[in-house]
């Protein structure tokens, strides 16, 4: 299955937040802590992406240290699919 677009990942991220009773801001520079997007949410998003592309995503927690904003999440998952 082909890689997901940035928009598609963004939609999924919004769904993860919505399921937790939170909303996705329009501004991709929003801080993850401020919008309540935690590691468990990131894991769920990664699984949603895995389910959609039919492949496992392999990465380690240290790689996530630089991720602070919505934009960082989208960049990271976009690049991971291409890897």
């Amino acid at each position: 299955m082909s890689a997901l677009s940035r928009d598609a990942i963004r939609t999924m991220m919004a769904e993860v937040l919505q399921a937790q009773g939170k909303s996705m801001p329009a501004d991709d520079s929003a801080n993850l802590e401020e919008i309540g997007f935690r590691s468990l949410d990131f894991s769920e998003l990664a699984l949603r992406v895995e389910d959609e592309i039919g492949d496992e995503l392999n990465f380690d927690a240290p790689e996530l240290r630089q991720i602070a904003t919505i934009s960082d999440v989208l960049d990271f998952l976009e690049q991971l699919q291409a890897a």
Partner: protein
């Protein structure tokens, strides 16, 4: 009639299988070697094998043909049993004298190849004393411990008739049970959930006086549903296994058993203890050669004066980023939702946190993924809330009448 009236005191009881409706002692004879593993196609074969072994006092193991793999058959022959499969008889590869009255059971095999556990008709007969006249429904897999409990009840006690149903009749049994006049039925929680999901009106029409559950953890939601559906019936749950025998019977319609039962020593009763969250049982009804104090592998927790048996220790714990979620606790919360007919919960490997909680759900009403998530979030810590919910259109059920094991 008392239990002391003879071990075959139920010979005149009516049994109904597909293709047979008559008394135990009217079953067509089945010639068996002195020590035999009988591979059966249906309950008619199985009943004939039981009756043949009981009347000849021979050694027997009864199992569905589908359960006995070639490797297992070799093991059984090596253990001194002839394999009887229809007209074919494979002789044992080990010569030994038969043990009169020995009944072998196979364990569920959920942790590897099934093992043999030694019983007798007497050790399998766990009901004593006068019994009200009843017609039982027996949906269990041929030769399983719960199957033997219904069979030995019928063989040993007059007035205990049995309607046997086959695995392919699990969707249609209520109509047959109504026709035959079933007044008592025993099944796993999954069996009952499936029945209530598929055809609640037909099930509700049954004049049940006794409803029994066992074989899987029994949660309050299913007990309440059955108690409300059958207000005149006694609703019981039984804890039993091939190894331990039937050890706990609870009749008050509540999940778990009273905490006061822990450590209690009574003649003829099992002694129940807890060690590190695991249920330990010293049972007089255990199979031969089984440890006097058996570690069950089942997790228990004490809450509000009740000891709840929640599930298998080996499969219950889901490690979510270092926090420990209990699959059975999540399952119970989901199954308590009014629109959920059945749920199964397990961990799924996930990046960062190691595992996340996922669920499969069958709905009997309207509910969305988000509603179930909110329901769980209000009752469970956040790491236990299922992050992926998959909706199925029917309740998965195996020949064992279980869905998880």
């Amino acid at each position: 009639m008392s239990a002391g009236a003879g071990r075959l005191a139920g010979a005149a009881n009516r049994i109904i299988t597909r293709g047979f409706d008559g008394r135990w002692d009217e079953l067509e004879s089945m010639p068996l070697p002195d020590a035999a593993a009988v591979l059966v196609r249906d309950n008619h074969d199985a009943a004939r094998a039981v009756w043949a072994a009981a009347t000849a006092d021979s050694e027997v193991l009864v199992a569905s043909r589908t359960r006995v793999t070639p490797d297992l058959a070799d093991d059984l022959r090596g253990a001194g049993l002839a394999i009887v499969d229809g007209d074919d008889v494979a002789t044992p590869t080990t010569e030994r004298d038969a043990t009169p009255g020995r009944v072998w059971l196979l364990t569920s095999g959920s942790t590897g190849r099934p093992k043999q556990v030694a019983h007798t008709l007497e050790s399998l007969t766990t009901v004593a004393g006068d019994q009200p006249r009843r017609t039982w429904l027996c949906p269990y897999a041929h030769g399983a411990y719960a199957w033997w409990q219904v069979v030995t009840l019928s063989i040993a006690h007059p007035g205990q008739d049995v309607l046997f149903i086959e695995p392919d009749e699990l969707d249609t049994w209520p109509a047959r049970a109504l026709e035959v006049g079933v007044t008592a039925a025993s099944g796993t929680p999954t069996f009952w959930r499936q029945a209530l999901y598929r055809d609640p009106e037909s099930v509700a029409a049954l004049p049940l006086e006794q409803v029994t559950l066992g074989g899987e953890p029994v949660d309050q939601a299913i007990l309440t549903r059955l108690t409300e559906m059958f207000p005149k019936a006694r609703v019981s749950w039984i804890y039993a296994s091939s190894e331990a025998g039937a050890t706990i019977a609870v009749h008050d319609g509540r999940a778990g058993f009273p905490e006061q039962w822990l450590g209690r020593e009574m003649e003829g009763r099992a002694t129940l203890t807890i060690d590190d969250g695991e249920l330990l049982i010293a049972s007089p009804k255990r199979g031969e050669g089984i440890d006097q104090v058996l570690r069950t592998g089942d997790r228990v927790e004490v809450a509000d004066g009740r000891v709840l048996i929640t599930g298998r220790i080996a499969s219950d714990e889901i490690n979510v980023g270092g926090a420990k979620a209990s699959a059975s606790a999540v399952r119970d919360v989901l199954q308590a939702h009014p629109a959920v007919a059945w749920a199964s919960v397990r961990g799924r490997k996930a990046p960062i946190v190691g595992s996340i909680v996922t669920a499969e759900v069958v709905l009997s009403g309207e509910a969305t993924d988000a509603e179930l998530t909110a329901w769980c979030a209000a009752r469970l810590p956040d790491y236990s809330v299922p992050r992926r919910v998959r909706f199925l259109d029917q309740i998965p059920i195996k020949e064992t009448l279980k869905s998880d094991v």
